[in-house]
């Protein structure tokens, strides 16, 4: 197999597996969801997004104290700013700016 063919196939395999994962729930419940699952699915967004937040912060326990502190302070800032101004763009932009600033100062 030439190196180009190998790379083309490698990307195709990766793309196919990613798509299959995303497809699975739709293929599994083609005739609609049982009511039990429907109620459960309604609770999932908040839970899954909470897990994604932890996923973004997964490097904290193994990282340095100061980088952990910078991250936690920036996350707290985003939460407070968002509760106060309720403006998604503002919260993300200011939070990221603060994080990048603290990274360079500390």
């Amino acid at each position: 197999m030439s190196s180009n063919t190998y790379q083309l196939l490698a990307v195709a395999v990766c793309a196919l597996c990613t798509f299959l994962l995303r497809l699975a729930p739709f293929a599994l419940f083609r005739r609609g969801m049982p009511p039990f699952l429907r109620d459960l699915a309604a609770k999932l967004p908040a839970a899954i997004i909470a897990v994604l937040v932890v996923y973004c912060l997964k490097g904290l326990p193994a990282g340095s104290f100061s980088s952990g502190l910078i991250t936690l302070v920036s996350v707290a800032f985003v939460v407070l700013l968002h509760l106060w101004r309720k403006n998604t763009l503002l919260s993300i932009a200011m939070g990221t700016a603060l994080y990048m600033l603290l990274l360079r100062l500390i």
Binding site: A10, V11, A15, L44, A46, I48, L52, V54, T88
Partner: protein, 232 residues
Amino acid sequence: MGKKQLFLYAFRKSIPVMLGFLFLGAAYGIVLQAGGLTWIWALYTSLAIYAGSMQFALLPLMASGASLPTIALMTLMVNSRHLFYGLSFLDVFRGMGARYPYMIFSLTDETYSVLCSCRQDPEFSAMDHRACWYLALLHQLYWVTGSVVGALAGELLAFDTTGIDFSMTALFVVILVDQLKAGGRDALSSAGIAMALALTFLFLLGAERFLLPTLAATVLVLGILQTIRKGG
């Protein structure tokens, strides 16, 4: 809402992801190009795979000539969280006709989260779901553009963008806050359970392996609690 308003709504909703995807995409393009691949590969991978962390992980795998089954297994493990996203949009996507397959294909972490936040908007239920399609397309357009530009002109981006990836963390934090405010006690308790499980598994299994067990346990625990509540 007319077509134009639907698009404008989707565009407004897509802005929070724009900066993050352009810069993270550029970072990906730079890494890819440094590994000896050209921008065509940035285009191909970002169009066909469209999963950020896995695209990064694929580069060293390909460079070392990993076997195709290894790549398949790695992808299934790294992206396993995507198994759960469709559950929230079975009905919404199914009603979208020819756009249905693309909606499934493009369900990334970020698109999933922003769609969840769209669903809380009062106008969403009455809206033509074509807006979701526009949103998904815009997100991928940002990602593809970022990665191709990064591969072509990575060195020209002279300024230091370290830390820009925090914008994705901030996005998830903001959407979580909105979910909790709109969802009341139900959302608060399911997010609390999920977060407690995530932290437990993070400390037990480590950063590389905690995600799939966490998601599986979260669905299981929420399911059990729902059964108990229904029974009692």
